[in-house]
C-alpha cells in the first residue's frame, strides 16, 4: 500500500465509517455534552454582574474608608484668640519660683502653650539667663502625676465641699483655743506675706512658720551679729581681683549663681588678660566652683573656722589691716597660727602663702566668701576679714537680699512637734512644703502629725507629707499663677499666668484667701489677681508717684516682668567688732566629717520627678539618676571600698545606707552627700531614686545642721550600680594619663605662659594637607565658638538644649548602657594627682565638620552638608545603620534605640499632657533614627524666613541657639563665620582658638578658646 493510500483510524467505528461518531455531522460536541446541565438551576449572578458589583463596592469603599493613621482632630483656627498667630510664638514675662532668687523669666508660648522658658533679658539681676532647674520647669507643668482634683483623704472631692468643711473646721479649732499651724517655705512675696498676716488675724490662734531644707540662716545670723540687720548685700564679683571661697559654691548653687557666674566670667575675658581675677577655693568636696578655681585646697568643714581666724591673724600681723583691731581681739587671734593649721590639715604651704600675699596685695579689690553651710561663727569671722582687708566696697547694698523673715531651727521644730504630740495643735496646713521628707526620721514628725486632728496640704503632687492628710488640695503651677516676689531690694518682680490651669487646681494663695473671706462662694479665677493688684498699688505704685494711672503702670509692669525700686538709702552699718567673741575651736574629729549639700538640679527634692533634671549628669561626678557619698580615693582604699559599695553612715543615733563614689578632690576622711533623693511618695520618675540622707541632718549642732562630725562609716559588703556618663562617648579607647592634654583635646596654659608664647594653643599641630581642593563656602557659614575661660560647666546649656529640641528622657537603665540622648554634653577631665586634681571641662556637641566623616559613610545619604555649613540629619531617610555614629570622632551622635514617646517604659509618655511639652518647631524623632545637634536649625530657618520677608541678607547675630541663649557666662558665641565683622569670625582666627581633634582634618566648625589659668608662673 502506497503512502498516499495509507489510512489512519482511531477506532473500529472510524474504520468502519460509522455515523455515530462525534463530529460526523459537523457538530463540535456530541449531543450528550449538556446532559445533567440545567441552565435554569445556575446562580443568577453572572460573571459580568459579579465584576460589576465588585467595582462598585471598591468605589464605595475607597470613598468611605477612614485613614487608620488619623488620630487627631484638625480644628480650623477660624475663631482664633486675639493675639495668637498660628506658627508665631508669643512671649510673656514672669518670675521663676524654683528657689528664693526669683529670677525674671520669659515664657515662650505657641498657640497658648508654654514650650520654653528663658531668662528675662531686661531683668536687672539675671539678665536673660536662668538655671537648669528654671529651664526644665516646663516639664513640671506637663507632669501627668500632678494632682488633678482635690482629695478628701484618698477620695476625690470638689472644691466647694473642701472649702466649706475646711473653713468650718478652722473656725472651730480657732474657737477651741488650739493652734492652727501653717508651715511654709521662706516667703519672698510681699503680697503673700500680707495675706498670711490676714490669715493670722482671721484665725486668732494661727501661727505661720517657715522651714527650708537649705537656706542662708547661718549667713543671716552672722550678718546680724556683725552689722545689726539681716539684709545681706550681694557681691560685686566683677570688681574682685582675688576671690577666696570657703566651702562656697557661688558658681554652682549658692545665692543667685546665674548672676554670680555672669559677674565672675566678666573678669575672665581673654581679650583683657591683665584683668583676670584669681580664684582660691578651700573646701571639703569638689564643687563646681572648686573645679573652676586657679588654686584649690582641701579642708574639712569643721576646720574652716580655725583657717579663717588664722588668716585674720596673719593679715593683722603683717600690718595690712584696714581697720583698727582691738588688742584684746589681736591677742585672742594670736593663738591661731596659719602655719600650724596648714600643717595639721595638710594644706599646701605655697598655696597658702600665695593666698595671703594676694589678699594683702589686692586689699579693697578682693572678696572672701563663706558658704551657706558654714556656721555663724565662721560667717562673722569672714565678715571681719573682709572689713580688715577693706573689701566692703565690693558689697552691693543697692541690690541687697531682702530679709524673708525667721526660719525654724531644729530646737524650734522639736518644740513644734512636741506641741503636736501634746494636743496643742488642732490643725496643720502644709503650704507647699514637705516636712515629712525633709525632717530627719528621728524627729518623728509623721507620728506627731497623726495626733493633730486635721491636716491639710496644698501641693502640686502627692508627697511624703500628704499621707496623713484630711484634705489634699492641688495647686497651680507657676505658669498658671499670679504672684510677685521681692527677693532683692532694688527689684520687685511680677508673676503672671500664661495658661489657664490644665487641671482642676487653684492658686494656693487664692485657696487661703477663700478661707480668710470665710465662704467657698467668694472664690473666682480673679480672686488673687485682684488682691495682688491692690497690694501692688499700695506698696509699689503709691510710692513711685508716677504720672500714669495704675492700670497703665500695672500692664507695663506685667509686660516688663519687674519694677525697679529705688533703694531707701544706704543701709550699710559699721561692723560691730565689740560683739565679736572668739569662739572655741571645734573639738577634734576622730571619725569622718559629713557635709550635706544641696543638689545642683533637683533642689531639696521637689523636682525629683523631673526626668530632665534627673538625667542631666552631675557637673562633677557625671552621675545621673542617683546620689552617693563622695569619698576621697585614699580614704576609700583604706577601707577597701570601690565605686558603688554601700556603706552604713552613722551620726549619733541616725544612720543611712548609701553607695560611695570615689571622687578625686574630696578631703581626707570626709563624705559629701547631696540631699533631695530617696523620695518614696512621688510618681514613677522620681520614686526611690537615690538614697534619702535627710536623717543625717545634724539636729544637735546649733552651728550648722549640714555639717556632722565623728561619723562612722562601715562597709556593708553590698554593691549598688551608680550610673555615670563620664566614660561614655570617650574620644579614645585606651586609658592614658592626661590623654586629653596629650591629644590636644584640652589646651590650657597659665597667663605667664601665654604671654611668653601666645600661639601655644596651636603650635604642636601638624600642617594638614588635603588631597582634594578646598571647598569654598560662599554666603552664610554657621559656626560656633566656646570660650573655655568663661565656661564653668554649669550644664544650663544641656538643659536648655533638652527643652528646645525635644530630647527624650530615657531613664537610668538606658543611661547605664550609654543611650542617653543629650545632644550637648560636658566632658570633664582631670589632670594631676587623683587626690587633688586639676579639673578641665569641655562642652561637646556636633562640630558640624566641613569634612564630616559621618557624611561619607551613610548608605542612604541621610546625613549631608547644607550650603550654609550645617551637618544635616534627614530623619526620614535614616535606616539606622549607625555607621555615622561609629565614624564620628567626637561621639556626638545619638541613636533612638526605642520610640521613647510610645510604648517605652509601659507607655509612661502616653497621656494627655506629656506630649504638650514638645516644641512644635522641632521634629520628634522616632525609633531607629540617628540624631544630633542641629545648631538649632529651626532658629536659622526662622531668621531665613524673616530675611526673605524683609528683603535683606541673613544676619548671623540674629540666630541665637538655645545653648548660647542660656549660657550665664556668655561662653558660647554663634554666627556667620563668613561675616568678617562677626564675633565668631574673629574668634576662629584668634591665637587661642583651636578645634578638638583638628589634626584628623575633619575641619570642625566649633572653635574652642584655650583656657588660661591665673596661676603663678611656676605652676600650671
Amino acid at each position: 500500500m502506497s503512502e498516499e493510500n495509507k489510512k489512519y483510524w482511531k477506532s473500529l467505528d472510524g474504520l468502519n465509517n460509522s455515523t455515530d461518531l462525534p463530529g460526523k455531522n459537523h457538530k463540535e460536541f456530541p449531543d450528550s455534552v449538556t446532559d445533567g446541565f440545567n441552565v435554569e438551576s445556575i446562580n443568577g449572578l453572572s460573571r459580568r454582574k459579579f465584576l460589576g458589583l465588585l467595582s462598585v463596592s471598591t468605589a464605595i469603599a475607597a470613598t468611605a474608608c477612614s485613614d487608620y493613621h488619623d488620630q487627631k482632630e484638625i480644628i480650623p483656627y477660624t475663631n482664633r484668640p486675639e493675639g495668637v498667630l498660628p506658627g508665631k510664638p508669643n512671649f510673656y514675662a514672669s518670675t521663676c519660683n524654683g528657689c528664693q532668687e526669683a529670677c525674671g523669666i520669659l515664657i515662650k508660648t505657641r498657640e497658648g502653650r508654654p514650650i520654653k522658658v528663658d531668662g528675662n533679658d531686661e531683668h536687672p539681676i539675671n539678665k536673660g539667663k536662668i538655671c537648669a532647674t528654671g529651664q526644665s520647669s516646663i516639664y513640671n507643668l506637663y507632669d501627668p502625676s500632678r494632682l488633678q482634683n482635690p482629695l478628701k483623704g484618698t477620695s476625690k472631692t470638689n472644691w466647694a465641699t473642701a472649702d466649706s468643711e475646711i473653713i468650718a473646721k478652722l473656725d472651730s479649732v480657732s474657737k477651741s483655743g488650739k493652734k492652727i499651724v501653717v508651715l511654709t517655705n521662706s516667703i519672698n512675696s510681699p503680697t503673700e506675706r500680707k495675706m498670711l498676716d490676714e490669715f493670722k488675724q482671721r484665725f486668732a490662734t494661727a501661727e505661720v512658720h517657715a522651714f527650708d531644707l537649705f537656706n542662708n540662716c547661718n549667713k543671716k545670723f552672722g550678718w546680724f551679729k556683725s552689722y545689726g540687720n539681716a539684709e545681706i548685700p550681694s557681691i560685686k564679683w566683677d570688681k574682685a581681683n582675688v576671690i577666696l571661697s570657703l566651702e562656697g559654691d557661688f558658681l554652682g548653687k549658692e545665692g543667685n549663681f546665674i548672676e554670680n557666674t555672669r559677674l565672675f566670667s566678666s573678669k575672665r575675658d581673654f581679650s583683657n588678660v591683665k584683668n583676670f581675677n584669681r580664684l582660691y577655693v578651700v573646701e571639703a568636696g569638689l564643687s563646681l566652683t572648686g573645679s573652676n578655681s586657679d588654686y584649690r585646697m582641701r579642708l574639712k568643714p569643721e576646720a574652716q573656722y580655725d583657717f579663717v581666724m588664722a588668716l585674720l591673724n596673719e593679715v593683722i600681723k603683717k600690718g595690712a589691716s584696714n581697720i583698727v583691731v582691738d588688742s584684746s581681739v589681736k591677742n585672742k587671734l594670736s593663738k591661731f597660727s596659719l602655719d600650724k593649721i596648714a600643717k595639721s590639715n595638710d594644706l599646701d604651704s605655697i598655696k597658702v602663702n600665695y593666698l595671703v600675699e594676694d589678699l594683702i596685695k589686692n586689699k579693697g579689690k578682693s572678696i572672701v566668701y563663706a558658704g551657706d553651710s558654714l556656721s555663724g561663727d565662721v560667717q562673722i569671722a569672714v565678715n571681719l576679714l573682709n572689713e580688715v582687708l577693706g573689701n566692703t566696697d565690693l558689697y552691693n547694698y543697692e541690690s541687697a537680699y531682702v530679709n524673708t523673715g525667721k526660719q525654724l531651727h531644729f530646737p524650734q521644730i522639736e518644740e513644734l512637734i512636741k506641741s503636736y504630740n501634746n494636743g496643742e495643735v488642732g490643725a496643720v496646713i502644709h503650704y507647699d512644703v514637705n516636712p515629712s521628707f525633709h525632717l530627719p526620721k528621728s524627729l518623728k514628725y509623721n507620728e506627731a502629725l497623726k495626733k493633730v486632728g486635721f491636716v491639710i496640704s496644698l501641693v502640686d503632687s502627692p508627697n511624703e507629707s500628704t499621707i496623713n492628710d484630711n484634705f489634699t488640695l492641688p495647686i497651680n503651677h507657676n505658669f498658671e499663677s499670679w504672684g510677685d516676689a521681692h527677693s532683692r531690694k532694688n527689684v520687685y518682680s511680677l508673676r503672671q499666668p500664661v495658661i489657664a490651669p490644665l487641671f482642676n487646681t487653684r492658686q494656693k494663695e487664692a485657696i487661703l484667701l477663700t478661707w480668710i473671706l470665710g465662704s467657698p462662694k467668694v472664690y473666682n479665677e480673679s480672686l488673687y489677681h485682684d488682691y495682688l493688684m491692690e497690694s501692688c498699688r499700695e506698696t509699689i505704685y503709691s510710692k513711685k508717684k508716677l504720672s500714669v494711672d495704675f492700670i497703665s503702670f500695672w500692664n507695663s509692669a506685667l509686660h516688663d516682668g519687674f519694677v525697679n525700686i529705688e533703694s531707701d538709702g544706704n543701709s550699710r552699718k559699721p561692723f560691730n567688732i565689740s560683739e565679736i567673741k572668739i569662739a572655741d575651736s571645734p573639738k577634734e574629729n576622730s571619725g569622718f566629717s559629713i557635709l550635706l549639700a544641696k543638689d545642683y538640679f533637683i533642689g531639696d527634692g521637689r523636682f525629683a520627678n523631673n526626668g530632665w533634671l534627673q538625667e542631666i549628669p552631675h557637673p562633677i561626678s557625671k552621675v545621673a539618676w542617683d546620689n552617693y557619698a563622695a569619698i576621697a580615693p585614699s580614704s576609700a582604699s583604706e577601707m577597701n571600698l570601690k565605686n558603688g559599695d554601700i556603706v552604713n553612715v552613722t551620726v549619733g543615733e541616725n544612720s543611712v545606707k548609701i553607695p560611695v563614689l570615689l571622687q578625686p578632690g574630696v578631703a581626707q576622711n570626709t563624705l559629701v552627700i547631696e540631699l533631695g533623693y530617696g523620695r518614696t511618695v512621688i510618681s514613677d520618675v522620681g520614686k526611690e531614686v537615690g538614697k534619702n540622707a535627710n536623717n543625717l541632718l545634724n539636729i544637735k549642732n546649733l552651728n550648722s545642721r549640714w555639717i556632722c562630725s565623728n561619723a562612722s562609716v562601715e562597709p556593708t559588703g553590698e554593691n549598688y550600680k551608680l550610673v555615670s556618663t563620664q566614660e561614655h562617648h570617650s574620644l579614645d579607647e585606651e586609658f592614658v594619663k592626661d590623654l586629653h592634654l596629650k591629644r590636644g583635646i584640652i589646651r590650657e596654659a597659665n597667663l605667664d605662659e601665654y604671654a611668653k608664647n601666645p600661639k601655644f594653643a596651636n603650635e604642636e599641630d601638624i600642617e594638614l594637607v588635603s588631597i582634594t581642593s578646598e571647598h569654598g563656602q560662599v554666603g552664610t557659614k554657621w559656626a560656633m565658638s566656646i570660650d573655655m575661660n568663661k565656661c564653668t560647666s554649669c550644664s544650663v546649656c544641656v538643659a536648655s538644649c533638652n527643652v528646645e529640641n525635644n530630647i527624650p528622657v530615657v531613664g537610668k537603665d538606658q543611661v547605664a548602657v550609654g543611650r542617653e540622648m543629650h545632644w550637648m554634653r560636658i566632658d570633664r577631665y582631670y589632670s594631676g594627682s587623683s587626690e587633688d586634681p586639676i579639673v578641665s571641662n569641655q562642652p561637646m556637641l556636633c562640630q558640624h565638620c566641613d569634612n564630616a566623616p559621618c557624611e561619607n559613610v551613610c548608605p542612604v545619604n541621610a546625613t549631608n552638608h547644607s550650603p550654609d555649613g550645617l551637618n544635616q540629619m534627614v530623619y526620614n531617610r535614616c535606616v539606622g545603620t549607625r555607621y555615622c555614629g561609629n565614624n564620628c570622632p567626637y561621639k556626638v551622635r545619638r541613636f533612638n534605640f526605642f520610640n521613647f514617646r510610645d510604648h517605652f517604659e509601659d507607655g509612661f509618655y502616653l497621656n494627655e499632657v506629656s506630649p504638650l511639652v514638645h516644641n512644635p518647631e522641632v521634629t520628634v524623632r522616632s525609633r531607629g533614627v540617628m540624631e544630633k545637634c542641629t545648631f538649632c536649625v529651626q532658629k536659622i530657618s526662622e531668621e531665613r524666613e524673616d530675611a526673605i520677608r524683609e528683603g535683606r541678607q541673613i544676619k548671623g547675630d540674629n540666630v541665637v541657639p538655645a545653648c548660647q541663649q542660656s549660657c550665664p557666662a556668655d561662653a558660647i558665641v554663634f554666627g556667620d563665620a563668613n561675616d568678617p565683622e562677626s564675633k565668631i569670625s574673629q574668634y576662629r582666627k584668634h591665637e587661642l582658638g583651636y578645634g578638638v581633634l583638628q589634626t584628623l582634618n575633619v575641619k570642625p566648625n566649633v572653635t574652642y578658646l584655650a583656657k588660661l589659668r591665673n596661676t603663678h608662673s611656676e605652676d600650671i
Partner: protein, 55 residues
C-alpha cells in the same frame, strides 16, 4: 477527592465577602469606639489677663 465548591460558587462567595467587608468598613464605627485618651491632647486655654511681651 471531589471539590465541593466549584469555581463559580467560590468566586461568588469571595465577591460577596469582599462587598460585605467594604460596606462594613465604610460604616461610622468611630462613633461607638471608646475614647482613647492617649490620642487626645489636653485642651489648652490661654489666660486672658496675661500681658504679652512685645518684641
Amino acid at each position: 477527592m471531589e471539590n465541593k465548591t466549584d469555581r463559580r460558587s467560590f468566586f461568588s462567595i469571595a465577591g460577596k465577602g469582599t462587598i460585605g467587608a467594604m460596606i462594613l468598613s465604610s460604616l461610622p464605627f468611630k462613633l461607638f469606639a471608646s475614647n482613647n485618651s492617649n490620642k487626645k491632647l489636653k485642651k489648652v486655654v490661654i489666660h486672658n489677663q496675661a500681658v504679652k511681651r512685645v518684641k
